[in-house]
């Protein structure tokens, strides 16, 4: 019993330790903000890597999400509501919820994991130590560009994902649900408000920051060789997925409070 409590205590303390460690690291990143202009080349290169490199995967996931959403919504409520509401529900769901969340989950698997694996490998092969010995601050040189790129690119990727998903839903509505294009756009125009778009973008901005910060933290604090890199990468993806879902709930409560 004592061992059980001791392990439990160790686990809880370990989590608080990691939270503190991550907070200190992120404060150090904030402290490097004045040097952001000097890191512009690295930031652009990370934006290309995080953003442009993610478009093919995001295109496929968003397209099918949009298509299946149109089919499912129609199947569930076609008998009770006019088609214009189906289009509205699909577009609204994509913009405020599925676009940001599914894209964030996909990006956490692709980009978050890649950031952790890259920084983790750099840590265990002493490349980060080498940067320090060359008087190059690794927080400024490695973390600041990745986190900035994550924050900037995520809204761009989510916007793109929403456009692709809505296109997919539109195509299915036209070809499979026999909805007219006019009805689809009428539903979208009447029921999707600018506030929905802003909310979706705010979510994507927060998710982008979360993914890159978590990815950077686990990578930067990796230890214990190749096994450590593997463990850190798994922890990074799991933590990101959990945080995205938890943050999504609290953002929904905040942005769309019950009347």
């Amino acid at each position: 019993m004592l061992t059980l409590f001791s392990r439990l205590g160790e686990n809880v303390l370990g989590r608080f330790y990691r939270l503190g460690e991550a907070s200190i690291l992120m404060l150090r990143v904030l402290g490097e903000l004045p040097y952001i202009w000097s890191m512009r080349q690295e930031i652009v290169s990370q934006m290309m890597r995080i953003g442009i490199g993610s478009f093919p995967l995001v295109t496929v996931t968003s397209l099918f999400t949009g298509m299946v959403l149109a089919v499912q919504t129609s199947y569930q409520i076609e008998e009770y509501v006019p088609q214009v509401f189906i289009a509205a529900a699909v577009c609204k769901a994509i913009i405020i919820e599925l676009g940001p969340v599914i894209t964030a989950l996909v990006i956490s698997g692709r980009v978050g994991a890649s950031i952790t694996a890259e920084l983790g490998t750099m840590r265990v092969t002493e490349q980060i130590d080498a940067l320090e010995t060359m008087a190059v601050d690794p927080v400024r040189y490695l973390l600041l560009p990745r986190i900035t790129a994550g924050l900037v690119m995520m809204p761009v990727i989510v916007t793109f994902a929403c456009v692709v998903a809505i296109s997919g839903a539109y195509t299915v509505s036209l070809l499979y649900l026999k909805m007219s294009g006019q009805v689809f756009f009428l539903g979208m125009r009447q029921f999707v408000y600018p506030y929905d778009v802003y909310s979706g973008l705010l979510k994507s901005f927060i998710f982008g920051g979360t993914i890159s910060m978590v990815g950077c933290y686990y990578g930067f604090c990796t230890s214990k060789g190749a096994v450590g890199v593997g463990r850190a990468t798994t922890q990074s993806v799991v933590t990101n997925c959990l945080l995205i879902l938890v943050f999504d709930y609290f953002l929904a409560m905040l942005l769309f409070p019950a009347v």
């Binding site: 890259e118 490998t121 750099m122 092969t125 002493e126 490349q127 130590d129 080498a130 940067l131 320090e132 010995t133 060359m134 008087a135 190059v136 601050d137 040189y141």
Partner: protein, 253 residues
């Protein structure tokens, strides 16, 4: 003997229950090549990491050119680090950068040199370590010996006053190892730098060192020039030189 460029006083360092350094005192005179010998896991690399400020001691002081390294602010520590270069055991080249980018990183970040000047310095440093035409290669395309050479070129790119070498000849064939020893000697001759080398390679230590210290159980138990090392009766040194399992060194399996 010249004044010390780097000095370690009463240094203690533990990792969990494992005590690695136990009151270590060490002084590196300017212009000398100090070789720290010791068995694997004795804490040799830990000493180097303290010298460059990558680790802080649990107790004790590290001085670089009179500045107390372990209490310096980050900006000041970076100013000191610009005066040092370090060759890591596995070279620690940046995988995502070409050889030229690896060597030029410090120059780009800390100097206002033009692209042309940087290219000239990079080529000169690579030639100094016996490499040419590899500027555009990626580290993954290089052999172990070449990686160490590029690591050395990167370490001396900013013309440091102090170069730290972590096991420069470990894991490479004897011929390449000797070539690296020659490089270390050439670097000292050409650039007049102070060097600290940690190794358990006795032949390399005797060839490149002007001073040799032996680390045993977290302390320096012997220091002297290569002749003194060869002629000493110290049982620890004798056992190390002879590479014998019999003697005062404790064996851990």
């Amino acid at each position: 003997m010249n004044e010390a460029i780097i000095q370690l006083e009463d240094l203690y360092k533990s990792f969990g229950d494992e005590r690695v350094l136990t009151g270590l005192d060490l002084s590196v005179p300017r212009g000398e090549t100090l070789v720290i010998m010791g068995r694997s896991g004795a804490g040799k690399s830990v000493i180097l990491k303290h010298m460059v400020g990558l680790m802080s001691p649990d107790r004790g002081e590290v001085y670089f050119d009179g500045h107390r390294l372990n209490t310096l602010k980050r900006v000041e520590l970076e100013r000191m680090r610009k005066r040092m270069g370090m060759l890591f055991q596995g070279a620690a080249l940046f995988d995502s950068m070409s050889v030229a980018q690896n060597v030029s990183l410090g120059l780009r970040r800390h100097t206002r040199m033009s692209e042309e000047e940087i290219r000239t310095v990079v080529t000169a440093k690579l030639v100094a370590v016996g490499l040419s035409g590899v500027e555009e290669k990626m580290p993954a395309e290089l052999s172990g010996g070449m990686r160490k050479r590029v690591g050395l070129a990167r370490a001396i790119a900013m013309d440091p006053e102090l170069v730290l070498y972590d096991e420069p000849t470990t894991g490479i064939d004897p011929i390449t190892a000797d070539a690296i020893n020659n490089l270390i000697l050439d670097t000292r001759r050409q650039f007049g730098v102070t060097s600290v080398i940690v190794t358990h390679d006795v032949a390399s230590a005797l060839k490149v060192g002007t001073l040799i210290s032996l680390l045993v159980e977290g302390r320096i138990i012997f220091s002297g020039n290569p002749e003194e090392v060869k002629n000493t009766d110290n049982p620890y040194v004798r056992q190390f030189l002879e590479g014998s399992a019999e003697g005062p060194h404790k064996l851990y399996f």
